[in-house]
């Protein structure tokens, strides 16, 4: 475990930086929004790349690859796999199927709610629904939400959806940890750098120690 997680972290970071390089070289992002988006994009792609072959990674990469502006970053990170993946997953039919399914889902929910409203209006009191039905409905609703959240989850069922969600949660956690440490590292270096230059050795030592203490 230790080895694999560590390996993933390294790969993740490498890919992240690569992506950042590429995205930065292409256009000079002006606004903070753009910067944030490019960072996020690189991070997501790096995570998906580092994870390897799973449903959600493929789905995520495909989804991100649909947009035009992300293609260069994708190319940078994925390298030669980019063409393979794009060729395999770029069929428009799949995308249309997704759209159609989404529509059917929403329409189903809408009709279900309408039905409930109608029946309650008729009876004038609370609708008698058996608890198992209630539980099942709740579960179905939650499953649909989960399907929306996990990339590529719309096509998965039941246990596979859960396993993909599990995998996704793990990678998200790893991603958050990595970005946090990245953030902390930049903080440390920038603050310690400021201390470093003008003052005397003793002071520097104190400053660095306090920084260490505050961080920990």
């Amino acid at each position: 475990m230790h080895v694999t997680k560590e390996f993933k972290k390294k790969t993740f970071l490498k890919q992240l930086l690569l992506g950042l390089h590429v995205s930065n070289s292409i256009s000079n992002p002006i606004s903070i929004q753009q910067r944030k988006n490019s960072i996020k994009l690189s991070a997501d792609l790096a995570m998906a790349f580092a994870r390897g072959r799973t449903h959600w990674t493929h789905a995520l990469i495909t989804k991100l690859g649909q947009k035009e502006e992300n293609k260069s970053t994708l190319k940078g990170i994925l390298g030669r796999r980019y063409e393979i993946l794009m060729a395999r997953y770029s069929c428009p039919l799949l995308y249309q199927k997704v759209q159609r399914r989404k529509k059917s889902v929403t329409s189903y929910r809408f009709s279900y709610n309408a039905q409930k409203r109608r029946s309650s209006a008729l009876k004038g009191s609370c609708v008698r629904v058996s608890p198992s039905v209630v539980a099942r409905n709740l579960e179905n609703r939650r499953t649909k939400v989960l399907k929306r959240l996990v990339p590529g989850g719309e096509f998965l069922n039941g246990s596979s959806l859960l396993s993909e969600a599990l995998d996704y949660v793990i990678s998200l956690k790893a991603q958050v940890d990595m970005m946090k440490s990245l953030w902390r590292a930049t903080q440390v270096s920038s603050s310690s750098n400021v201390e470093l230059v003008p003052s005397a050795p003793l002071q520097k030592k104190d400053a660095s120690c306090t920084i260490a203490n505050s961080e920990e």
Partner: protein, 337 residues
């Protein structure tokens, strides 16, 4: 990518067979749960045989003997394509129930010849339950789902106390949304911090770890014409030096401070990083020849670093400025992140 992950995953699985990264194996690899515990989660407590195989068997137990082999591998998680497996269900004495007590629980048997043999899953009907194939299949499927839910419950904090599928799903959804929002937030913060998204200091760190270099130049792959102002801070480079015991360079008054910073940084980075690094010689750190005279050289390095991903290192390795004593000048270096 998959090739790299596969050998790493294999030694971590509990079973002797280099099994398919079954969900149990891969998740334990990811989760860090001891395989035994994950297996316990995944299975009935009463089975005898190899955990990973039983996991595999349980997963495939819903499939009829004939048709399933093709569909089985498709949603699978990990690198090595699973060996073609079929699971066979056998109803045990369905017809002759009468007084015969039916054993509880499932167990799996395995052909011990190797991974290519087909394991058969004998699913026995429990006492007082229907024994037709549909309900068996359904039961197996339900147990699969429950097993996954248990794993998810372990993962999401605060979920183990909740009972009931819907609420647990709720928690999981909240957790996923929370993590996604955190990613956005962190990326916003990172964007706010850096005027340019380059993290060039980290380049050295990474290349140090991945390339096992003896000498490297710190490439400023920065867009724009501000190369003059940007110089590398050797602190970053020294993050790559693990344990800081190999400072054999000229002992300077500046060194101790750098070492202190390095210790801080060591705390901040995950320990994983530092443990895997190769010991680099600190005398290696050379300031990049940023000053105007070598601008074209830097440009070339930029192009190098941007050309290809994968094996191409982020930095170009170069023998420029072999021994310029940059150490005294470190103080003036400011890192531009």
């Amino acid at each position: 990518m998959e090739d790299e992950i596969q050998p790493l995953l294999n030694p971590t699985t509990a079973s002797a067979s280099p099994s398919v990264a079954t969900s149990g194996a891969s998740f334990t690899a990811l989760l860090g749960l001891p395989p035994n515990r994950a297996v316990e989660l995944l299975h009935e407590p009463t089975f005898p045989s190899d955990p990973a195989l039983v996991d595999r068997a349980a997963r495939f137990s819903v499939f009829a003997a004939a048709a399933a082999a093709s569909s089985a591998p498709s949603p699978e998680v990990s690198p090595p394509p699973p060996p073609p497996e079929t699971a066979k269900k056998r109803k045990d004495g369905a017809s002759t129930n009468g007084k015969a007590k039916v054993k509880k629980g499932k167990h799996a048997e395995e052909d011990t010849d190797g991974e290519n043999k087909l394991p058969y899953v004998h699913v026995r009907a429990r006492r007082g339950q229907a024994t037709d194939s549909h309900s068996l299949a359904e039961r197996a499927r339900r147990e699969k789902i429950n097993a996954r839910m248990k794993l998810l419950q372990e993962l999401v904090p605060g979920c183990s106390k909740i009972s009931g599928t819907a609420l647990v799903l709720d928690e999981i959804i909240n957790h996923v949304q929370y993590l996604q929002r955190q990613v956005e937030y962190l990326s916003m913060r990172l964007a706010a911090v850096n005027p340019r998204i380059d993290f060039s200091g980290l380049d050295t760190f990474l290349s140090a770890t991945t390339m096992e270099c003896g000498r490297l130049t710190i490439g400023n792959a920065k867009v724009g014409t501000e190369l003059d102002q940007q110089q590398q801070q050797p602190v970053w480079s020294e993050v790559g030096v693990s344990d800081s015991d190999q400072m054999n360079s000229t002992t300077n008054s500046k060194r101790p401070q750098i070492q202190l910073q390095q210790n801080q940084l060591q705390q901040f980075w995950h320990v994983d990083f530092l443990n895997t690094q190769n010991h680099l010689q600190p005398s290696v750190w050379e300031r990049d020849t940023v000053m105007g005279s070598t601008a074209p050289h830097v440009q070339r390095e930029e192009q190098h670093s941007l050309v290809g991903p994968g094996p191409v290192p982020l930095l170009a390795f170069d023998r420029v400025n072999p021994v310029a004593p940059p150490i005294q000048s470190n103080q003036q270096l400011k890192m531009e992140l």
